[in-house]
């Protein structure tokens, strides 16, 4: 078993275990805690598409949660349209809003984008709190919307309501696995490379053919779409939404914090962040909220500052290093991977069949650069004295 295979097997095992968990965990309370945990991991992962990969700081992602929640709920309450359809409608709507916010601001740098995402959430919240009827649509102002439960003990897939926690568990877990697979596919694609490079150094990326702003906007649209799906899920899980529950800066900031502490731009970051932070939050809310109010937020703030100062790329990196060590004990390290050949001095023929599109590059191993520059892993200066340069006309 190679290390690669070992890691993949671990991943499969964890996923299977997560799916099998409700067979063991029968308590509705614990299942609910897990559902919320997955929900946060999901929302943070979609946040990470912009905040991590594209290197900007969105501080208003709850606006998309809110759009998703309100859209599907209104469509269900007033028109009897299944929340599953409402979920998609809300997501499309959110994608449109994401485009509207991103298009003008992502051209500018950092602070403006962060500030306008915040202003957007606050603006939308004020709007919803002040509107009872938006045309024919009932928003019900600050009181929010109640989804009347189906009859006791009844569940319906069409109504997105279930009599037990298990269906919710499986839905959010499936959503989470799907979105993780998607982000990991994106991060390995052209889009992922372009987002990362544009986030790190826009000037350099642009010189290499990356239309940085366009890719950031695209990421924003995808992220808004996916985040809104979580909004509908949240509405159906709690059956009650109001502006201060789904359209708040608190939720927006919490998503950002989980991602940042976990590790922005890494696939596992949001999961690890949610695993680390949610229990702290829940625990201190339950046990200290009366005696030591705000303690969990102090802890959160301190953790955030310390992580940013000492491990700015998040906690996932050191944790993965530990995992690598564990993996190395169980499986021999790979001498090489197919992607990154470690064999520098083989003058293998560059005109291999998979690169016919490089007419401007030398197609013979003994291009005039000579053997000294052809493949020297050692310091470049070391071989220069043997350079045949002077002998050439």
């Amino acid at each position: 078993m190679t290390q690669q295979e070992f890691k993949r097997n671990c991943l499969i095992a964890v996923t299977l275990a997560a799916f099998a968990l409700p067979l063991v965990v029968r308590s509705a309370t614990y299942l609910h805690i897990l559902i919320i945990l997955y929900l946060y991991a999901y929302m943070t992962t979609t946040w990470n598409l912009v905040g991590g990969f594209a290197g900007v700081l969105p501080l208003g992602h709850s606006v998309f949660v809110g759009i998703g929640a309100y859209t599907s709920t209104i469509l269900w309450l007033q028109y009897g349209i299944s929340p599953w359809i409402g979920m998609l409608v809300g997501a499309v709507l959110a994608a449109g809003v994401g485009y509207l916010i991103g298009k003008p601001t992502l051209k500018m740098r950092g602070a403006y984008f962060a500030l306008s995402t915040m202003a957007f959430v606050e603006g939308i919240r004020v709007m919803v709190e002040n509107i009872d009827m938006l045309g024919p649509l009932k928003l019900n102002g600050p009181r929010g919307l109640n989804i009347p439960p189906l009859q006791m003990g009844e569940g319906s897939f069409w109504a997105f309501q279930f009599s037990s926690k298990e269906p919710y568990y499986y839905i959010i877990l499936t959503m989470l696995v799907a979105v993780l697979a998607m982000t990991s596919a994106i991060s390995r694609s052209k889009m992922g490379y372009y987002l990362k490079s544009g986030g790190e150094d826009p000037d350099a990326a642009q010189a290499l053919g990356v239309n940085v702003a366009r890719y950031k906007v695209a990421a924003m649209v995808i992220s808004s779409f996916l985040t809104a799906l979580a909004g509908t899920f949240l509405a159906q899980l709690t059956l009650f939404i109001y502006p201060k529950s789904v359209l708040t800066l608190d939720l927006s900031f919490e998503l950002a914090f989980i991602a940042l502490i976990g590790g922005r731009g890494s696939i596992a970051g949001p999961i690890i962040g949610a695993l680390l932070l949610r229990p702290v939050t829940e625990f201190s809310r339950i046990y200290f909220s009366a005696t030591l109010p705000g303690l969990h937020l102090i802890i959160l703030g301190v953790v955030l500052i310390v992580v940013m100062l000492y491990q700015p790329r998040g906690l996932t990196e050191p944790l993965l290093r530990i995992f690598d060590k564990v993996a190395a004990r169980f499986a021999p390290a790979l001498p090489d991977t197919p992607d990154t050949p470690d064999t520098p001095d083989t003058p293998d023929s560059p005109d291999s069949p998979n690169s016919p599109d490089s007419p401007n590059l030398p197609d013979t191993p003994d291009a005039p650069a000579g053997p000294d520059t052809q493949g020297t892993p050692a310091a470049p200066g070391a071989t220069a004295s043997a350079s045949p340069r002077e002998e050439r006309p």
């Binding site: 290197g55 900007v56 700081l57 003008p104 601001t105 051209k107 500018m108 740098r109 950092g110 602070a111 403006y112 962060a114 500030l115 306008s116 915040m118 202003a119 957007f120 606050e122 603006g123 004020v126 709007m127 709190e129 002040n130 150094d201 900031f253 950002a256 940042l260 030591l292 109010p293 705000g294 303690l295 937020l297 102090i298 959160l300 703030g301 301190v302 953790v303 955030l304 500052i305 940013m308 100062l309 700015p312």
Partner: protein, 297 residues
């Protein structure tokens, strides 16, 4: 609408707007030099308010003499926050012109400060007691002017004027401006960049402290009091142009007027929505703000 009412609303709006401008002034000064947004600015204001509150409560004086303590204390506080928390990020990300990490760290600081205040002082809304200025009014014909707000507005003008003189006419002030224009060039001139950053952050924090002090006579003190001011300041600095002193004051007055005149035409809760709409409009139409120079954003 009755012109007297309108005049009254305008005066209230301008006075309150100037105080908003004062809060934003600290933020814009820090941004002008460091090119980062200090998300903990509202919390610095809150700290300033608590210091003023306790100074008055313990001494029985009015909050203005307390500025003698507040200004240097807040300056040192800001100086060390920049030195200990923000400078390391600039060093670690020295190739990044505008490290987003600073926003995150200052947000962490915001959470810590606000909740420490909650832990220590509890969630109560505290009004200054004794409050020597309580309810003091200046009557000019039919128009009534609140004295503490007037003092606050005057403090704003004095602070802005003082900062202007400092930046234009002192050696240190010129060094601060040079650093804000070009970090490397300033370093070449033999000005220590970090020292300038510390000083700029300290001054910005001290200004937050002044705003806190002038607010206490007519504004309750509570742990999250900074948040509405924080968000308003963000709006104001973008409106006026990030980094512009006078833009901050004008932006503040615009917000103040919307808040005081708006309720004549709509539910007062809507005025907040107008403020955000205006903010987004400026951002989309003229992102450099009303008075900001065009920067390489």
């Amino acid at each position: 609408m009755d012109p007297v009412f309108l005049a009254q609303d305008c005066i209230n709006g301008v006075l309150m707007g100037l105080i908003y401008g004062l809060v934003a002034l600290g933020l814009t000064l820090i941004f002008g030099v460091l090119k980062v947004i200090n998300f903990a600015h509202g919390s610095f204001l809150m700290v300033g308010m608590y210091v003023a509150y306790w100074a008055v409560t313990l001494s029985g004086l009015s909050p203005y003499p307390a500025l003698v303590i507040i200004v240097p204390a807040m300056f040192l506080f800001g100086y060390w926050v920049q030195h200990l928390l923000i400078r390391p990020i600039f060093i670690a990300e020295k190739n990044v012109r505008e490290p987003i990490t600073v926003i995150i760290v200052t947000t962490g600081l915001w959470y810590v400060l606000d909740n420490l205040a909650l832990l220590v002082f509890g969630p109560d809304y505290r009004a200054l007691n004794p409050n020597p200025l309580k309810g003091q009014m200046l009557e000019m014909g039919e128009i009534i002017v609140s004295v503490p707000k007037l003092y606050g507005a005057l403090a704003t003008l004095a602070t802005a004027g003082g900062l202007h003189l400092f930046l234009q006419h002192t050696r240190l002030g010129r060094a601060v401006r040079a650093t804000s224009l070009d970090r490397e060039a300033a370093s070449l001139m033999g000005i220590g960049q970090w020292k300038i950053f510390n000083i700029a952050f300290g001054i910005g924090t001290a200004v937050a402290g002044i705003s806190g002090a002038v607010l206490t006579p007519f504004y309750n003190v509570y742990p999250t009091v900074g948040i509405p001011f924080d968000i308003k300041s963000f709006v104001i600095v973008v409106l006026g142009g990030l980094g512009s002193i006078w833009g901050a004051l004008v932006g503040g007055v615009i917000i103040g007027l919307i808040e005081s005149i708006g309720p004549n035409f709509m539910t007062s809760t809507w005025t907040e929505g107008i403020v955000y709409a205006l903010f987004l409009l400026v951002l989309f139409v003229k992102p450099s703000g009303l008075f900001g120079q065009k920067q390489d954003w």
